[in-house]
Every structure is written in structure tokens, then in C-alpha cells.
């Protein structure tokens, strides 16, 4: 490797973003554009008795008004799910399609009912007020655990107990036996509350059908345009895939919420076909709150068994996972294969069992949100360990270290086989934890804490040691687990005649900085400048079929596909160089952008070789012209980043307000291409993770109304809620991908949440408090402090 990989190259994409020159979906204007407004159910659960669209249809400037019946009559069913998780007894999961617009019944607040299309968005919205819809409100259920009980309202009539699936993993008998022999059992019943992603850019979609060419173009705020194209063409609307182009231009944040194929994407295409005009829909922020897929929402009971030495001997957990009203694209995978499989954590626990119930409720769909299942697994484990340490009067750091999996590099030592279906690639966990403890000054802190308590100040420290599965994923493995798609990635490296490089990637960048990181990889390996490399992504007509960006996969999987193509370029380039230098390929070495005949000063530059490939006058016999290679990379395994986060808090005893005094994150994400970008990812993830611990959380009332569906009420974390984060890294390369990288996009969000809650519990330990529900709002903390330990 040269010196470009590993350096903090400034993000090339930022010039357009910070000068307001990004090109987002809503910025795109097409000739003859019309605008859609979607009338949504104000009720969480309601029969639709009648819809009268006459007055709206006749309003000036209105192009069309469509109802769910119009769509159903055209033979369109709805949006399907992309991952199948069956019942334990083998029955197929229940997966009612999500109608593009509902016909008879709305199942969550915000469910689409009528689409009004007009010449301007103002007219569309005004005309929407002329549509008369008669609802009969029905009782609603919003809590997953409650929804499984007898007598609760059914979200879908054909899903008894509101169950979509139930699922289990691990050895139940061995786990129960471990508990029977346990010296100590720690139990935690808790809710990992529902959070709302709130990407800065609201979702938007433009559908454009051109009758002259029979081509469909969808511009959309998507993290994975190809998957959207596949679902849209093959499953929702039945369109010829080669006639469908999906473009995800600049996208302003996703955090998972823009992975999924949404009804609005299909609606604008369906209606554009019907009307022959382009149609734009852009969510209002109020719509985003109730239609973007939410995250988390697990109600769990989890137990950890220990022997007399404090060794973990068993773990079992039962989770009711709220799916919302319909199964979003990857929803069933999140609480199961992205959660249950992570319950080994960093520890040697020999017996693990988990069961998960996927439950429908009258709420917005829940799906992957930054970390997706892994934050829930980490929260479960790391809260249990801290509670156990408190109950057994052990030091929480030492309890973790005592139970750690020993080091293995995945090369000289095999990967670590967990009890929950995964094989960790490489890990050396203790040094990472020790480094974090050194950063925080653990021993000094305990002294400071003791003195502070004597002065009526409540300081607390909380640990979280996490592992996550990233770089998703080996297609055959996920196929066996129910994925209805492969999880490879594609990359094409096209050397232009002048030696400049265009790279076409199936990954999609919506904040991650791929245009910089990917360019660094190519520049480093070809010996060209970062500025000589252009990264193209997000247009299904420009790039080969790709699987998009989520699950911290773009560098580990997409970056590896780039490396494969670069290697093909160099292999062919060497043939051309050998010919020009009249030397044998074996005698050449490539460095700093030049092929040199070893031991001589005879050399040829990369640019000359590129030009020769396209002007092949003097050229190796039998070799094709051109220097342009595509690759698909299907990873051999997941990657397993890990780390240790430590939070220090102080609680204001008068108000219960938690102040995060320090936050230490020591992460191991394998090799690092751009340290600045990794730091940025960690910082952003920490903000989201700490946000869940202290601030965020959807609040539904009994009728299913989301009470905090605006920024006046839903507390997003802000910079002034945090101290300056203190970050460091250890480096344990991934043994199975060419860059040795593991992924960093979700780490901050996965590790941080329990560290904060553990710190608060540590601060509150003089009050005899062992657990509180998130978010740890001032009132909740204050009440606990005044409840004499009864919480």
C-alpha cells in the first residue's frame, strides 16, 4: 500500500454539500412536473367507510386523484418483505402486503389513503382538503407484548395474536441446565424503546414514465437503488426491469430508514404510467415522523447465569419485537439474525438461547436503524453484566475481562465459533478494553467518585464492550437465513485513455464519504492522485447491479469489489507495460504509478499504459484493447468490529438531569482507510446512541397517536448535549477481505447506549436503583432518586 490509504484526506463531496450545491431528489425538476400529496389516515386503526374525491378532482389545477381501490383494481397488491423468518413450527411467516394506498382499513397513523396529483404542490395540498373520507375508528394496539395477548385488536384479521413469526436460536436444554446449576442469576426486564430516524433530508420520489420509449425512471432517496428497482419491477408493479432506471442522487442521511422500498416510490411510478407525466412527492417532516420506518422497539426479559467465580455460564432471552403495522423490507431480520446471533458478545458463555416474537401493532413499521439488532443485543448483554456486577459486588470492568474470548487472528488461529450461529473473524478484545480504561483513568475515577458522593455530587461510570457483525454478507449464508436477495457488491474500474479513473460502485453514499474513501483506495493502488479518481454511484443505468449501503458493508464488501477490479487492471496493465518495455511480465514491478524492469531504469507510467490500451498501435498480440474491469465480490464471512465505550456522567440531584461529562470510545474496526472519516462516523454514531439513552423515544397514546411527532416534542440530540468525544482505536485486521477492514458506520451507535445507562445506574447506586427505562429523562431519574429504591 502507498501512503494514501490511512491518511485523513478531506472529503471531496463536502465542497458541494457545504456550499448548498448538492443535487437531492427534491432539487430535480423535470419538464411538465406534477406534484403528489398523500392524504394519510389520522387514526391508528380505522375502517374506511367512504371516500368522495369529486370536488378535489374538479378543482382547478388538479391532474388526478387516486384511491387504494384504483390501485387494487389495476392488479397491484402492495410492497412485499425482503426477508423470510418462519415460525418455530415451520409455518411460513405472516406477511400481509403493504398496500400502496389502503382500501378498506388503515392500520397506523399515517397509512396512505388517497393521492392527489396537481400542477403545483400547493394546489395538491389545498385540493386534499376537498377530499371527504369517512372513517370508523377502531381500538388500536401499540405495544408488542400486549398485542400478543388474547382479546387485543387484530391489525390483520388473518394474523392471530398479531404474530408475524416466532423464532428461536440456541440450545434451550443446555441453557436451562446452566441456569439450574447457576450460583447467581441476574434478570432484566426492559424495553429497548422505539426511536425515529429523522434523516435530515425527508424522503422524496419522482416517477417518470416516458411513453415514447416505454421507460420508467424513479429518482428516490434510497440507500440501495438496485434493490428498489428489483422490488418495484419484479414484485410490486410487474415492470420489465431493463426498462426501469432508479436513480438515488445525493441523499441526505439514511441511518437505515432509506434502505427500504416504500409505497410512495411505487405510487409515483404507477401514477406516472397512468397519466404520462412526471410526478414528484416529497415528505413533509410531519409525514416523515409517521411513515419513515422506525427503529428498535423490543420488549425483553433477559437472564444471565453465573458460577461462583463470576464466569458466565448461560444466557437466555425472550423478546417481543414490534414490527409495526406491516413488514418493512428487512424488518424480520433485525430482531432475529441481526440480534439473536450477537448474544455471544465478547464472552465465552457456553449456553445461549433466545426466542423472538415478531408482532404487528397499529404503529409505523419498524426496520433497521443504525446498528439494526446489534444495538439491542449489546444493550441486553451490557446492561445484564453491569447489573450482575452490582448484585455480585464485583467490578464491572473485571467481570467483563474475566469472561472474554481469548485472542485469535483468524489466520494462525481459527475464527471463534459462537453458540449462536456465527464465526467471529478475528479479535483481541482485552487490549481494547484496557486502552479505554486507561483513557478514562479508571482507578482515579473511583476515587473521585467517592469524594464527590461525600460532597453530595453524583458521578457515575458505565462500560459497554460490544461486538457487531458487519460487512453483510456472504450471500449463501444469508440465503439460508431467509434473505430473499444476495449481499455481494459490484464495482467497475474504468481507466480512461488519459489515465484518469472512473469507478462505478453498487454501494451508495449518503453521508459516508465514499467518494473520498473509495478514491483513496484506487489512487493508492494505481499510484494516481485522489483527484484523478471519480466515484460514480446511485444510478442503476450507470452502475452494475449492486446491493447498496447499510450494515457497515460498503468498505468491507464494496471496497473489496473495487480492489478486485483494480487488480485486474494492474494485471492487464502489466501485459501492456511488458510489451512496451520489451521485457517479461515477471521482470516488472509496479510502484508509484510506474512499471519498472527490476534492476534497471527502464520504466513506463500508468498513464502511458492507459493510453496504449485505447490507442493499441503497438500492442501485445491477442490482447483486447481497453482497460476497464468489473467485479462482483461476495464476502467469505461477516466482519466483526468491536470496541469498548466508557461514559462518565454527573447527575444533578435537584433536577435529575444527566450530564455526560466524558465519553471514551476505543474501537477496533480493522484497518482504516481515512481516520478522519472513521472518527466522524464514530462521533455521529455516539450522538445517536447517547440520544437513545437520554433523549429520544416515540410516545404513543392508547389510540395509537404518536404524541411527539415533531421537533418541538421529539428530542433529537444536539452538539451541546455532549462533551468532546475521546476516541482511539486498536487495529485487528479482518483476515478475509483484501483491505483488512471491518466497517465503522454503526459502531458508535451500537456500543454507546448501554454505557450511558450503566453510568447513570452507577451514579444512582447509593439510591439502590438497579434499572430504569430509557430515555433517562430528568423526571424519570429524579423520581427514581426520590423513590427509596423502589424503582
Amino acid at each position: 500500500m502507498g501512503s494514501i490509504i490511512g491518511s485523513s484526506v478531506k472529503r471531496v463531496e463536502d465542497k458541494r454539500f457545504i456550499t448548498g450545491k448538492g443535487n437531492y431528489t427534491d432539487d430535480i425538476q423535470l419538464q411538465g412536473m406534477t406534484y403528489a400529496y398523500i392524504i394519510r389516515s389520522p387514526f391508528a386503526h380505522a375502517k374506511i367507510l367512504s371516500i368522495n374525491t369529486e370536488e378535489a378532482k374538479n378543482a382547478e389545477g388538479v391532474v388526478a386523484v387516486f384511491t387504494g381501490k384504483d390501485i387494487a383494481d389495476s392488479g397491484v397488491g402492495g410492497v412485499p418483505c425482503g426477508w423470510q423468518v418462519n415460525f418455530r413450527n415451520g409455518d411460513t411467516m405472516k406477511e400481509p402486503l403493504h398496500p400502496l394506498l389502503v382500501v378498506n382499513k388503515a392500520r397506523h397513523q399515517g397509512d396512505g389513503v388517497v393521492m392527489v396529483i396537481a400542477e403545483t404542490k400547493e394546489i395538491a395540498k389545498d385540493a386534499a382538503e376537498l377530499v371527504e373520507i369517512e372513517y370508523e375508528e377502531l381500538p388500536a394496539v401499540t405495544d408488542a407484548k400486549q398485542a400478543m395477548e388474547a382479546g387485543q385488536p387484530l391489525v390483520h384479521d388473518d394474523c392471530p395474536n398479531n404474530l408475524s413469526f416466532d423464532w428461536e436460536l440456541g440450545d434451550k436444554a443446555a441453557t436451562d441446565a446452566a441456569f439450574a446449576n447457576a450460583h447467581h442469576v441476574t434478570t432484566l426486564e426492559f424495553t429497548n424503546q422505539r426511536v425515529i430516524p429523522n434523516a435530515m433530508e425527508p424522503r422524496s420520489a419522482i416517477g417518470h414514465f416516458e411513453p415514447a420509449t416505454d421507460k420508467y425512471t424513479l429518482y428516490t432517496t434510497s440507500q440501495n437503488p438496485h434493490l428498489t428497482r428489483l422490488l418495484l419491477s419484479a414484485f410490486v408493479l410487474g415492470l420489465p426491469e431493463h426498462k426501469v432506471r432508479v436513480v438515488a442522487p445525493d441523499v441526505g442521511g439514511g441511518f437505515g430508514s432509506k434502505i427500504f422500498h416504500y409505497a410512495e416510490e411505487a405510487l409515483v411510478i404507477w401514477a406516472s404510467k397512468a397519466l404520462g407525466v412526471p410526478i414528484k412527492w416529497t415528505a413533509e417532516r410531519s409525514e416523515s415522523f409517521v411513515t419513515d420506518a422506525h427503529g428498535r422497539d423490543h420488549v425483553s426479559k433477559s437472564e444471565m447465569a453465573f458460577d461462583a467465580d463470576g464466569k458466565m455460564i448461560g444466557l437466555r432471552s425472550s423478546t417481543a419485537a414490534n414490527m409495526g403495522a406491516y413488514l418493512s423490507t428487512f424488518a424480520p431480520a433485525v430482531p432475529t439474525y441481526l440480534h439473536g446471533t450477537l448474544l455471544q458478545g465478547l464472552y465465552t458463555t457456553p449456553a445461549i438461547y433466545i426466542e423472538v416474537y415478531g408482532v404487528f401493532t397499529n404503529t409505523t413499521a419498524v426496520d433497521a436503524y443504525r446498528g439494526a439488532g446489534r444495538p439491542e443485543a449489546t444493550y441486553l448483554l451490557e446492561r445484564l453484566i453491569d447489573k450482575a456486577a452490582l448484585e455480585m459486588n464485583m467490578d464491572p470492568a473485571e467481570l467483563r475481562i474475566k469472561n472474554l474470548i481469548p485472542p485469535f487472528d483468524g489466520v494462525n488461529q481459527p475464527g471463534y465459533e459462537t453458540k449462536v450461529a456465527l464465526t467471529y473473524d478475528s479479535g483481541n478484545y482485552e487490549p481494547t478494553i484496557r486502552r479505554a480504561m486507561e483513557m478514562v483513568g479508571y482507578e482515579d475515577f473511583r476515587k473521585e467518585q467517592k469524594e464527590a458522593r461525600e460532597n453530595g455530587k453524583y458521578l457515575g461510570i458505565g462500560f459497554s464492550a460490544y461486538i457487531e457483525a458487519c460487512g453483510i454478507a456472504p450471500s449463501a449464508v444469508v440465503g439460508a437465513l431467509g434473505a430473499r436477495a444476495g449481499l455481494f457488491e459490484s464495482a467497475q474500474v474504468r481507466i480512461q485513455p488519459t489515465g484518469k479513473v472512473s469507478v462505478y460502485v453498487g454501494s451508495h453514499s449518503h453521508g459516508q464519504g465514499h467518494e473520498t474513501t473509495f478514491a483513496q483506495i484506487v489512487a493508492d493502488k494505481l499510484g494516481v492522485g485522489v483527484e484523478d479518481v471519480e466515484i460514480v454511484h446511485g444510478d442503476s443505468e450507470a452502475v452494475a447491479f449492486g446491493m447498496g449501503t447499510y450494515g457497515s458493508r460498503s468498505l468491507a464488501v464494496g471496497g473489496s469489489a473495487i480492489v478486485k477490479s483494480v487488480e485486474k487492471v494492474l494485471e492487464k496493465g502489466a501485459k501492456i507495460a511488458a510489451h512496451k518495455l520489451e521485457a517479461s511480465e515477471d521482470d516488472l514491478e509496479f510502484a508509484n504509478g510506474q512499471w519498472t524492469v527490476k534492476g534497471t531504469d527502464k520504466s513506463i507510467g500508468f498513464g502511458d499504459v492507459a493510453l496504449t490500451a485505447y490507442v493499441p498501435h503497438d500492442y501485445p498480440q491477442g490482447l483486447e484493447p481497453g482497460l476497464d474491469f468489473s467485479s462482483f465480490y461476495d464476502p467469505a464471512n461477516f466482519t466483526y468490529p468491536y470496541g469498548c465505550h466508557i461514559c462518565v456522567v454527573e447527575i444533578d440531584p435537584d433536577t435529575g438531569k444527566v450530564e455526560v461529562k466524558r465519553f471514551i470510545a476505543c474501537d477496533d474496526v480493522g484497518n482504516v482507510i481515512n481516520p478522519m472519516i472513521v472518527d466522524g462516523q464514530i462521533h455521529g454514531g455516539l450522538a445517536q446512541g447517547i440520544g437513545q439513552a437520554l433523549l429520544e423515544g416515540a410516545i404513543y397514546d392508547e389510540s395509537g397517536q404518536l404524541l411527539n411527532a415533531s421537533y418541538m416534542d421529539y428530542a433529537m440530540p444536539r452538539a451541546d448535549d455532549f462533551p468532546m468525544f475521546e476516541t482511539d482505536r486498536t487495529v485487528t485486521p479482518c483476515p478475509h477481505n483484501p483491505l483488512g477492514v471491518k466497517g465503522a458506520g454503526e459502531a458508535g451507535c451500537i456500543g454507546s447506549t448501554p454505557a450511558v445507562v450503566n453510568a447513570v445506574m452507577d451514579a444512582l447506586s447509593p439510591f439502590g436503583i438497579k434499572d430504569l427505562e430509557m430515555p433517562l429523562t430528568p423526571e424519570r431519574v429524579w423520581r427514581a432518586m426520590h423513590s427509596n429504591g423502589s424503582n
Binding site: K121, E122, K125, D126, E284, R285, S286, D654, T655, K657, L695, I699, L707, N708, Y711, M712, D713, Y714, A715, M716, T777, P778, E779, W782, R783
Partner: protein
């Protein structure tokens, strides 16, 4: 986030604004900084047919000393007030309240007159306007009148302002030299409005409190003066004990709001905590 259509008017003077108000009556809405009104329009919670934008009437933006009073034009921004050397020197509480509002963008657009006319029960301004015993000058078809701050805030989003009146000025008496003041708030985590905000002004002589004025915002549907706290601290030497004793009387016998960030109990408790903290801050 698209408002209903409306006609936009930008009068050049107060009299022109009053004429428009007279002309359109209930259909009209006065806009100053627009930071409460525009969100409400975009959510279609408010759908006025006519918007009268007074923000560019230049003679409504000023901060000046007029014989023992700081006179602030109704369209002065929070930022202009908060950064005013005159205000900072004479009545620090007013500057603190101004700078406690929202964020930089809000403070650069939002105005004092607009905020108090809107009378959001959780807004920052009302507490210090009450504690400073300001007068609100309003212009109407029949000339101007002055409304005492204590008579101005009448309920949730309700004031003594008549439909055909516009606030033109806020007059804040400059307190005696031996006076200290403070505004402190516990922000609602999402909106950063005051979950509880307390404004305190204390005038001392010979070490004890000669006069105290204590007002709350965020606690009740309408901002209010807390006479019980004022009486309890008046005549007392200022120390931690007297302050605690006075603060403990806060928010008794008033209608206390409740929401998912603060129940009634907790809000009442916070009122006591913030009374204590603001009294301490105003006691140096």
C-alpha cells in the same frame, strides 16, 4: 409543510399596518419575526387570509434609554436585545432571557413584541417582562395605550391585546442601583422552550431584601408573578437558608401544566429549584 394561500402585506408604517388590520379584521394576522407564526401556518393550525408583515417598519426596532426606562421597539430581535450593552448593564435578566431563546437563527429573526403577543406559555420572555414590571405600549385605531405587564398575559396564548391593536414598544423601568436580576430556565429537551423559567429581581438595602419580584414561565398556562416567594424573601437577609425557605413556596396554588416531559409534581418541584437558583444568581 405548505401553508394555505394568503395575501402578504408589508406596511411601511404602524398607521398603515393598523389600517390593514382594520380592513381585514379577523382574517388578518400580524407577523413580526414569524418564528411562531410560520410553523403554525405551515402546519395549517393557523390559516389567515392576510399576513401583515411589520418586521420592516424601521421605527419599531430600537433600544434606548428614556428617562429611567429602557424603551424597546416591538420588532427588536432577541439577539439585538440580548447583545445590547445598555440592557446588559441596566437589567441583566432581560439580556439573559433574550439569549436563552432558541438558537442563533431564531434570535436573529424572532422579536420581543412578536413573542409576547403570541404568549406561548413556555416562552422565555414573559417571566422577565413580568418581573421587570414592564409596560406594553400598543397602538390601535383610537390611539395608543399602555398595558402593565401584570395585566398583559391573560391565559394560554392569550393577552390583553385587542384584535385591532399592535404592540409598538416595551418599556422596562431601570431598577435602582442596588438591584440584581437573573433569568434561569430548565429547557424542554426537544423544543428548548422553558419547561420552567424563573426571572428574579431583588433590590437590597443594608443587606436585606427591600423588594423582590419573582415570575415564572412554563409552569402555568400563563406566566405569573409568584407573590408568595416575593413576600417570603422580602425583609430577609440574603443567604442560602432564606432563599431556600422562600423558594419552597414557589408555584403554590397555581394551575400547573403537565406533559410527557414534566408531570405537575415534577414541574412544581422544578419551579422551587429554579426559584432557588435564580434567587441565588440574583444575590451574587
Amino acid at each position: 409543510m405548505i401553508p394555505s394561500s394568503f395575501e402578504y402585506h408589508r406596511p411601511a408604517s404602524v398607521s398603515e399596518a393598523l389600517q390593514l388590520l382594520q380592513q381585514y379584521g379577523e382574517e388578518a394576522k400580524i407577523m413580526s419575526g414569524g418564528h411562531s407564526l410560520l410553523p403554525s401556518l405551515k402546519l395549517r393550525l393557523s390559516e389567515p387570509g392576510h399576513l401583515i408583515d411589520i418586521s420592516r417598519i424601521s421605527d419599531l426596532s430600537y433600544i434606548r434609554e428614556e428617562g429611567g426606562v429602557i424603551a424597546i421597539g416591538a420588532c427588536s430581535t432577541h439577539n439585538a436585545i440580548g447583545k445590547s450593552a445598555l440592557v446588559q448593564e441596566k437589567i441583566p435578566m432581560i439580556s439573559q432571557a433574550a439569549l436563552a431563546i432558541g438558537d442563533v437563527q431564531v434570535r436573529n429573526r424572532g422579536t420581543l413584541g412578536g413573542s409576547i403577543a403570541h404568549a406561548d406559555p413556555a416562552a422565555d420572555w414573559p417571566a422577565s417582562i413580568l418581573a421587570s414590571e414592564a409596560e406594553i405600549v400598543v397602538a390601535g385605531a383610537n390611539g395608543t395605550r399602555n398595558i402593565a405587564a401584570g395585566d398583559f398575559f391573560t391565559g394560554i396564548f392569550m393577552t390583553a391585546l385587542e384584535e385591532n391593536e399592535i404592540i409598538t414598544e416595551i418599556r422596562i423601568p431601570i431598577p435602582p442601583a442596588n438591584t440584581h436580576s437573573a433569568y434561569l430556565k430548565f429547557p424542554q429537551p426537544a423544543s428548548r422552550f422553558a419547561l420552567v423559567g424563573c426571572a428574579v429581581m431583588i433590590t437590597r438595602s443594608n443587606g436585606s431584601v427591600e423588594r423582590a419580584r419573582v415570575a415564572f414561565t412554563g409552569v402555568s398556562p400563563s406566566a405569573f408573578r409568584d407573590n408568595a416567594v416575593e413576600e417570603a424573601i422580602t425583609g430577609q437577609a440574603v443567604n442560602a437558608d432564606s432563599i431556600k425557605a422562600a423558594a419552597d413556596k414557589a408555584a403554590e396554588g397555581v394551575d400547573i401544566m403537565s406533559d410527557h416531559y414534566a408531570s405537575q409534581d415534577y414541574r412544581k418541584h422544578l419551579a422551587k429549584v429554579y426559584a432557588k437558583r435564580a434567587l441565588m444568581a440574583a444575590s451574587n
